[in-house]
């Protein structure tokens, strides 16, 4: 990384924020929910990989921690929704 790279990541993050805000004001209905959450996921991935240096992490344990957290959440949310949807 370099100063310029960090600033570039920040600019991308701000641009993505501008995109979500504009998209939300266009009122695209169902599409916008998915798109807005997808952009949030991209933004947090950028922060995790580049600002929190997970991209440069050499320890397998640390590389795996975030995917483990996401998998755990996916199980919680998935199982809860099987209840909500088919009740």
């Amino acid at each position: 990384m370099s100063y310029a790279r960090y600033v570039l990541v920040w600019l991308v993050l701000l641009a993505l924020t501008a995109v979500t805000v504009t998209m939300a004001s266009l009122d695209l209905g169902r599409v916008s929910i998915v798109a807005v959450l997808a952009i949030a996921a991209v933004k947090s991935t950028l922060v995790l990989l580049l600002f929190m240096h997970l991209l440069f992490e050499k320890r397998l344990l640390l590389k795996l921690l975030v995917p483990i957290a996401i998998a755990a959440l996916a199980i919680f949310i998935g199982l809860t929704y099987t209840d909500i949807l088919f009740r």
Binding site: A24, A40, I77
Partner: protein, 202 residues
């Protein structure tokens, strides 16, 4: 001088803590998703009342504070000189100021809600449909818990700044600043999700 093993251990401990934080907020996000599923109309109506401008402004502030945080650590780990320590403390100071700015905006936002009689269990709120009561309950609980995290983050960062200026952390001992930075970035990530869920999705 710290050993690489020591700093790796500290990092693993920090990430384990962050994992528990992700699950804590994850549970609240699940609660939000469930109630939203049950009351889509009420959630839509209530979300229109939030100030999108305040939310966007706070997003920009937190993202920028994440940048200065990352730059502070980058400066410290790149070169060992008094100049790099000074520059790192300037970046850290800027991060702290932006964290305070976030809280000020949040304070104005909450104050505006209170003026309209909207606060947990207020008579005005309880007269509303059940979905809107749930929405504002989640709004105050989740942004409140997040703001609490910002306050804790500010305390940690201020401690780091004091240690940096005293010389007990610095280019020779970056791990504590790195871990404080990890915490700050996580608080930023949580806001990255809170912002669209409460202010944008309708």
């Amino acid at each position: 001088m710290e050993s690489p093993e020591h700093s790796t251990g500290a990092r693993i401990g920090m990430w384990l803590f962050l994992l528990s934080e992700i699950l804590l907020f994850g549970g609240l996000f699940l609660l939000y998703a469930t109630y939203r599923w049950k009351h889509p109309g009420d959630f839509h109506a209530a979300s229109q009342e939030l100030s999108r401008l305040d939310g966007t402004l706070n997003t920009a502030i937190l993202l920028t504070s994440s940048l200065t945080m990352a730059l502070s650590i980058f400066t410290l780990s790149r070169e060992r000189s008094a100049r790099s320590t000074r520059r790192a403390s300037l970046f850290l100071g800027a991060t702290i100021l932006m964290g305070c700015a976030f809280l000020v905006v949040k304070g104005f936002e909450w104050a505006a809600k209170f003026r309209h009689g909207l606060y947990p269990s207020s008579p005005v709120l309880l007269a509303r449909p059940p979905g809107e009561i749930l929405y504002f309950g989640l709004y105050f609980a989740m942004t409140g818990l997040h703001a609490l995290h910002v306050i804790v983050g500010l305390c940690v960062l201020s401690t780091m700044l004091a240690l940096l200026l005293r010389g007990s952390v610095g280019p020779e001992r970056v791990a504590p600043v790195e871990n404080a930075g990890l915490y700050w970035h996580l608080v930023d990530i949580i806001w990255i999700f809170l912002f669209p869920l409460f202010y944008l999705i309708s």
